[in-house]
């Protein structure tokens, strides 16, 4: 039997908070609430099209889970996203409320969700810190996480790419608002 408990170290509140994604300020959340979702749709469609064109291996890694319906719910925005991963007709739709019958629901701040996509955050670490909540088909969640992490998607750049002459300023603006990925050589270290 062990006669002495080995030393343990628990992440302090400040350490954990410094490492985890921030949230959209409440005043911004309130300001966004009355805005219509329809103008978002072409941007989302163009972003998805660009991502799939640049990273065709995603569906291969999704394997039997391609075709499942994923609900992505930013907890600090007054909207959510429905991702339908049909290999021939993938779709992403902005909605006010996610439909009830989904294969997977993933909830977290918008910074956490974007960081998951571009590799800035580790999904397991976000789950451990309770910054990410996942419910539903866990095989599909794991497959999606691994497929996206391997794809090395630059969501901000690929999303802004469809904006023509506005692409560069839009990218600069978004990057200034979001944490830099830890895998970015110029980024601040995780800790």
């Amino acid at each position: 039997m062990p006669s002495e408990q080995p030393a343990r170290r628990t992440a302090g509140h400040e350490e954990a908070a410094a490492d985890m994604p921030g949230r959209v300020p409440l005043v911004v959340q309130l300001a966004l609430r009355p805005l219509p979702l329809l103008p978002l749709q072409p941007i989302l469609a163009a972003t998805l099209k660009a991502v799939l064109a640049n990273h065709p291996g995603i569906f291969e890694r999704l394997g039997p889970h391609a075709g499942k319906r994923f609900g992505l719910a930013p907890t600090d925005l007054p909207l959510a996203f429905l991702l339908e991963s049909l290999p021939r007709r993938p779709r992403i739709t902005a909605v006010r409320t996610l439909p009830a019958r989904l294969d997977v629901t993933i909830r977290g701040s918008i910074a956490a969700l974007i960081g998951l996509v571009d590799g800035g955050y580790d999904g397991d670490a976000l789950f451990f810190s309770r910054d990410l909540v996942v419910e539903g088909d866990m095989e599909a969640v794991v497959a999606l996480r691994n497929a996206i992490d391997d794809a090395q998607i630059d969501l901000v750049r690929e999303g802004c790419g469809s904006l023509g002459p506005l692409a560069a300023p839009a990218e600069r603006l978004l990057r200034s608002l979001l944490p830099r990925p830890v895998t970015d050589p110029g980024a601040m270290p995780w800790n």
């Binding site: 451990f128 309770r130 794991v142």
Partner: protein, 325 residues
């Protein structure tokens, strides 16, 4: 000491190499390795590309084929050995005696390592693998203290490798049947502990409930760090009270033990986490690279500072500092 880093995908392999890994370990996308998770691991073509990427940057690739072949299905495991050799693997990490014998016989020039899954925890067991199959390295189980590691390393006729960071397996590795008991699948035979197909979470905004098969593994209060849904780190109510009956959800961080492990004669330091994302890989590898640089320069090691990355948001030096009565 070499830094051996995990990679579950080609992107993670590149992240590990770029962050300073001396070697990366990874596996094929099937039941032949102990991280057989959905969307994870390497196709044959990806393995060859990964080896080329690593070699071009001076790093090695170790292919883990560390599950135990099932009777009547040896072909899958033999094929994995053959394909890893063909891909240019610098070493194979194997657990099953029969598979080690196959690799030694069919590929005598291939460097072989004994996986932690073989639970070779004493000089006699290690001597058997060295004498019978010519293995060059053994990965020691995570149940030994540093003095025990030093004694084993002194007695062993091969190199030793130890874990320094990541998830802790508290059972006799390669022998644990808890996942099989709960789900019918195990890390030893199917390559997956607590398979995602049997996991469910329910979060009502306050309490997070994790379940594995028919077992409730844990209930986390609001703000309490969460953990993987494994039986060995579950919180249960028993006749003598409620709590963690095997182990609490903590992760290994042995950065402060590096001087002792160096003195013990350990050849290689392993980071757990092939199931983790690129952010984890890049950050943990860079942190231990810096710790090793400090060790070599004679500077104090300030600790990896990676607690927020870990299961349960808590780290331990595990058995390395444990004394036994």
């Amino acid at each position: 000491m070499e830094l051996i880093c995990p990679a579950g995908t080609p992107a993670a392999l590149r992240a590990a190499v770029d962050a300073g890994a001396d070697a990366v370990y990874c596996g094929f996308r099937d039941e032949t390795n102990a991280r057989n998770f959905p969307g994870l691991n390497f196709s044959r073509a990806e393995m060859a590309e990964g080896v080329a990427y690593a070699h071009a940057r001076g790093a090695k690739v170790l292919v883990a084929i560390n599950t135990f072949p099932r009777a009547g299905q040896l072909g899958l495991w033999h094929g994995a050995v053959d394909d890893a050799v063909a891909a240019g693997a610098d070493a194979l990490i194997l657990a099953d005696v029969g598979l080690i014998a196959y690799a030694a016989e069919c590929h005598p020039a291939q460097r072989l390592h004994v996986s932690v899954q073989a639970a070779a925890a004493n000089p006699d067991a290690i001597a058997f693998y060295v004498e019978a199959f010519g293995v060059k390295r053994v990965v020691l189980p995570r149940v030994l203290s540093v003095p025990e590691i030093a004694a084993i390393t002194r007695a062993a006729a091969c190199e030793t490798e130890v874990f320094v960071f990541g998830g802790l397996c508290v059972m006799a590795e390669g022998r644990c049947s808890l996942s099989s008991h709960a789900t019918g699948q195990s890390p030893n035979m199917h390559g997956v502990c607590s398979p995602a197909s049997h996991v469910s979470y329910r979060d009502d905004g306050n309490t997070l409930v994790s379940r594995l098969g028919d077992f409730t593994i844990n209930k986390f209060a609001k703000g309490e760090p969460a953990a993987y849904p494994t039986l060995c780190k579950g919180r249960f109510r028993t006749g003598i009270g409620a709590g963690y009956i095997f182990e609490e959800p903590v992760s290994l961080d042995a950065a402060e033990m590096l001087p002792g492990l160096k003195k013990a004669g350990v050849t290689a330091l392993k980071i757990e986490g092939r199931q983790r994302g690129r952010a984890y890989i890049a950050s943990v590898v860079a942190s231990f690279r810096a710790a090793l640089a400090a060790l070599e320069a004679g500077r104090p090691i300030t600790g990896a500072g990676l607690t927020a990355m870990t299961e349960g948001q808590t780290t331990t030096v595990g058995a390395y500092r444990k004394t036994w009565r």
